[in-house]
C-alpha cells in the first residue's frame, strides 16, 4: 500500500538511471543514514560498539571487496585475508616511517599497495579459473602469513612479532572513543559503498559480470579478460587492504601476524555466501550475521541456564556455523539479499497480491 511506485514517472534519462529509482527507497535510505549517524550513537553502549558494530563495519568493507571479485567477477578467492594483512602492515609502516602523512592518505596508499599485490596474485586467473584459482589464492594466504611473521622489517624488528599502533588522528581529531571510531568507520564505509555501487553499475562492473557469466562469450563480444579480471582483483584487493588497515588500527590496535589467517579468509567467504553473492547489500547482511552469530551462540547457554565450557561452546559454534552454511546453500543459494528482494517484491503487491 505504502510501497508502490505508481505515479512516479521518469521523464529524464538521469531519473531513470538513478541509484534508487523508487521514492520510498530514497526516503528509507535517508532515514537509515540519519539513524546510523545520529540515532545509534545516542542509544548504544560501548560494549555493543566494540564487540558488534565496529567489527561489523570493517568486515562489511572487506566483504564488499571480496564480493566485487567473487560475486561480480566470478573469480573465487580463499586468500583475501592476505590482502587485508598487506593493507594493515602497509599502513603500519607508512605511519611509522612517514609520520607526517594524513591517515586518510595512509589508508588510500595501503589500499593501493594491497591492489598491486592483488594484481600480482591475480595474474594466474588469466590462465586458470574456478577451483584452480582457489588454490592459487591460498598461496597468497600462506605466503603472507609467513612473510609478515618472518621478515622483521615489516614489524619494525619487534621482538614478539606483534605490532602496536597509536590512535589515529585526522585533521586534529583523535579517533579514540568507541563512538568516534564508529562514526569514522561508518563514514568510510558509506563512501566506499557508494563507490562500489557506481563501479558495479558502470561499464566496468558490467564487464566483470560478463566475465562471471561466461568468460569465453564475454571475450568474443570484445571484453578484454586481462583488463576485466585484473581490475577486479585490483579493486577487490584495494577494498580489502583498506579494511585490513582499519581492522588493525581501529579495531585491534595491536596485532600479531596470525591475526589475518586462513580463518579470516574463510569467514569473509562465508559472509558473501550467506549474505548473497553479487550483491552489495548482501555483504552487509553477511557481515552482520557472521559477527553476531558467535556472540549469540555464547549467550544462548547463559539464557537457557545450561552451563557449557568455553571449549565445548566453541566447538558447538563451529558445528552450527557449518550446518548453517550448508543450510543456506540448499535453501537459498542467493543468500539473505535474495530474501530481502523477495520481501520487497511482496511488499509492493501487499495487501492485494493479485
Amino acid at each position: 500500500m505504502l510501497y508502490r511506485e505508481n505515479g512516479q514517472f521518469k521523464s529524464t534519462y538521469a531519473s531513470d538511471q538513478q541509484m534508487l529509482p523508487i521514492a520510498q527507497d530514497r526516503v528509507f535510505m535517508v532515514l537509515l543514514l540519519a539513524f546510523a549517524f545520529i540515532g545509534v550513537p545516542l542509544v548504544t553502549s560501548d560494549y555493543v560498539f566494540l564487540s558488534l558494530l565496529i567489527p561489523f563495519l570493517i568486515l562489511t568493507l572487506a566483504a564488499i571487496g571480496l564480493n566485487l571479485l567473487v560475486g561480480y567477477c566470478g573469480q573465487i578467492s580463499i586468500g583475501h585475508a592476505a590482502f587485508m594483512a598487506v593493507g594493515a602492515y602497509a599502513a603500519y609502516n607508512l605511519v611509522l616511517r612517514v609520520p607526517q602523512l594524513n591517515f586518510l592518505v595512509v589508508l588510500l596508499l595501503a589500499g593501493l599497495i594491497a591492489a598491486v599485490i592483488g594484481v600480482l596474485f591475480g595474474i594466474p586467473s588469466l590462465r586458470i579459473k574456478g577451483l584452480y584459482l582457489a588454490v592459487a589464492t591460498l598461496a597468497a594466504q600462506f605466503f603472507s602469513d609467513w612473510m609478515f611473521a618472518r621478515v622483521k622489517w615489516f614489524t619494525n624488528y619487534a621482538h614478539s612479532g606483534s605490532v602496536q599502533t597509536a590512535p589515529i588522528e585526522l585533521f586534529g581529531w583523535t579517533v579514540e572513543t568507541p563512538v568516534e571510531k564508529y562514526l569514522f568507520l561508518l563514514a568510510v564505509l558509506v563512501v566506499f559503498t557508494l563507490v562500489a555501487k557506481n563501479l558495479v553499475r558502470g561499464h566496468i562492473g558490467r564487464e566483470w559480470m560478463a566475465m562471471r557469466d561466461m568468460d569465453v562469450a564475454a571475450e568474443v563480444i570484445g571484453i578484454r579478460p586481462v583488463y576485466a579480471k585484473l581490475t577486479a582483483f585490483a579493486v577487490s584487493a584495494f577494498y580489502c587492504g583498506v579494511a585490513g588497515a582499519l581492522w588493525g588500527f581501529v579495531y585491534l590496535g595491536s596485532w600479531e601476524p596470525l591475526a589475518f589467517n586462513l580463518n579470516l579468509s574463510l569467514n569473509l567467504l562465508f559472509m558473501i555466501i550467506i549474505g548473497g553473492m553479487g550483491s552489495l547489500l548482501g555483504s552487509y547482511f553477511g557481515a552482520a550475521f557472521i559477527v553476531a552469530l558467535p556472540i549469540l551462540l555464547d549467550q544462548v547457554p547463559i539464557w537457557l541456564g545450561v552451563p557449557i565450557s568455553t571449549a565445548t561452546s566453541a566447538h558447538l559454534a563451529l558445528m552450527i556455523f557449518g550446518a548453517l552454511i550448508v543450510f543456506f546453500l540448499i535453501v537459498e543459494p542467493h543468500g539473505l539479499a535474495r530474501l530481502w528482494a523477495i520481501g520487497k517484491e511482496k511488499l509492493r503487491l501487499w495487501p492485494f497480491p493479485h
Partner: protein
C-alpha cells in the same frame, strides 16, 4: 607430443635446484639422502590425502575441501576408540563411521545441491569442514591423542659402510610407504577390475550418460565418499601415529590442494606423483634453501615449507594449468 617449453624450463629449474646442494658441497651425500627420504615419506602422506580428494573430484566434480577435516575426524575416532577396544577393532568401527558419514553427506548435502555450480559445492564442503571440525572435537574431545601402531620407532642406521655416518631411517616410515603402495594398488584394481569400479569410471566420464544407462548416481556417490573416507582414515591413522592426533592435522592436510593441482585434479597417478614432488620439494627447500634465505634477508626463522608447496603449485599452474596428468580442458561457447 608438442613440446611445452615453459614446463620443461620449470622442471629443469627444479632439478637444478635439487642438485645444487650436492654440487656446491653444502651437504654430504648421506645427509642429502636422509633429507630426500624424509621428503618422500612426507610426500606419501600428502599423496594419501590427495588421493581421497582426487577420487571425489573425479566421480562427482566436487572440490572437497573437507578431506582434511575427514582425515582429522577419522584419526580422532580411531584414537579414542582404541582406548576402549583393540586397535584393529577401532579401525573397523571407524571405517563404519566413515561410511555412515559418507551416506549422511550424500543425503543431506550433495543430493539437494545436485546440478549446482562447482563453486557452490566447494562452499558446501567448506560448511562440512567446519561442521566436522566442531563435531569431531565435541564427540571425541580436543586434546592431543596418540595412535600406537605397535611398531618400534627408534631409527635404524643403514648403509653405514657406504657413507660416513650412515643414513638414519625409521622402520615405521617403510611400513607407511608399503601401506600407501598397497592402497594405491588396491584402488587401481578396484577401479579397473570390478563392476562397481567400472560404474565409478562411467560416472566420472559423464554423469548424464552414466545415469541414462542405469547407473544409480546416488549410490555411486555414497560409495565414492566412503572410499574417500576410508583413504582419509588410513591417512589419519598414519599421520596420527607420527605426529599425534590434533587439530593441526586438518591444517596440514590442506597441503593436498597443491598436490592435486600439480598432479592434475582427476588423476590418481597424479595425486601420488604430485605428493612425492611436493614432499621432496618442500623438505629440500626447508633444509637447504631456508637457511640461505634467512641469512640473505635476515628473517626470524625459516618455515618456508608452509608456503613452498602452494607457490610451487602456483608457478606450475601458470605454465601447465591442467596439471601433470590432467585432461586438457577446452572451452566452447
Amino acid at each position: 607430443m608438442r613440446k611445452n617449453w615453459p614446463v620443461l624450463a620449470l622442471g629443469a629449474a627444479l632439478l637444478v635446484g635439487l642438485a645444487l646442494p650436492l654440487a656446491t658441497g653444502a651437504s654430504s651425500l648421506g645427509f642429502y639422502i636422509e633429507v630426500l627420504l624424509g621428503g618422500l615419506m612426507t610426500g606419501v602422506l600428502y599423496s594419501l590425502v590427495a588421493l581421497g580428494f582426487a577420487l571425489i573430484f573425479k566421480a562427482s566434480g566436487v572440490f572437497n575441501f573437507a578431506q582434511g577435516a575427514m582425515v582429522l575426524f577419522a584419526a580422532l575416532a580411531v584414537a579414542r576408540l582404541a582406548e576402549a577396544v583393540p586397535l584393529w577393532l577401532a579401525i573397523v568401527l571407524a571405517t563404519a563411521i566413515m561410511v555412515a558419514l559418507a551416506w549422511v553427506i550424500e543425503r543431506v548435502v550433495l543430493r539437494p545441491l545436485v546440478n549446482q555450480e562447482g563453486v557452490t559445492l566447494l562452499m558446501a564442503t567448506l560448511g562440512v569442514t567446519y561442521f566436522l571440525d566442531g563435531f569431531g572435537q565435541t564427540v571425541w574431545g580436543s586434546d592431543i591423542y596418540k595412535i600406537d601402531l605397535g611398531i618400534a620407532k627408534e631409527p635404524v642406521m643403514i648403509l653405514e659402510k657406504l657413507f660416513e655416518g650412515g643414513i638414519l631411517v625409521n622402520k615405521e616410515d617403510f611400513l607407511v610407504a608399503m601401506v600407501a603402495a598397497g592402497l594405491v594398488a588396491g584402488l587401481t584394481l578396484f577401479f579397473q577390475k570390478t563392476a562397481t569400479g567400472r560404474a565409478l569410471r562411467a560416472v566420472a566420464d559423464d554423469h548424464q550418460a552414466a545415469q541414462s544407462v542405469g547407473i544409480p548416481l546416488n549410490h555411486i556417490w555414497v560409495i565414492i565418499w566412503s572410499v574417500a573416507g576410508f583413504v582419509a582414515l588410513v591417512a589419519g591413522v598414519i599421520w596420527g601415529s607420527q605426529l599425534g592426533v590434533q587439530f593441526s592435522l586438518a591444517q596440514v592436510a590442506l597441503k593436498a590442494l597443491p598436490v592435486v593441482i600439480l598432479g592434475g585434479f582427476t588423476s590418481i597417478a597424479g595425486a601420488i606423483v604430485g605428493g612425492l614432488i611436493i614432499g621432496v620439494g618442500e623438505k629440500m627447500a626447508e633444509v637447504f634453501l631456508g637457511p640461505v634465505l634467512v641469512k640473505a634477508f635476515d628473517l626470524a626463522g625459516g618455515g618456508i615449507e608452509n608456503w613452498f608447496a602452494y607457490v610451487l603449485a602456483l608457478l606450475f599452474l601458470l605454465v601447465r594449468p591442467e596439471g601433470l596428468f590432467g585432461e586438457k580442458h577446452i572451452d566452447r561457447v
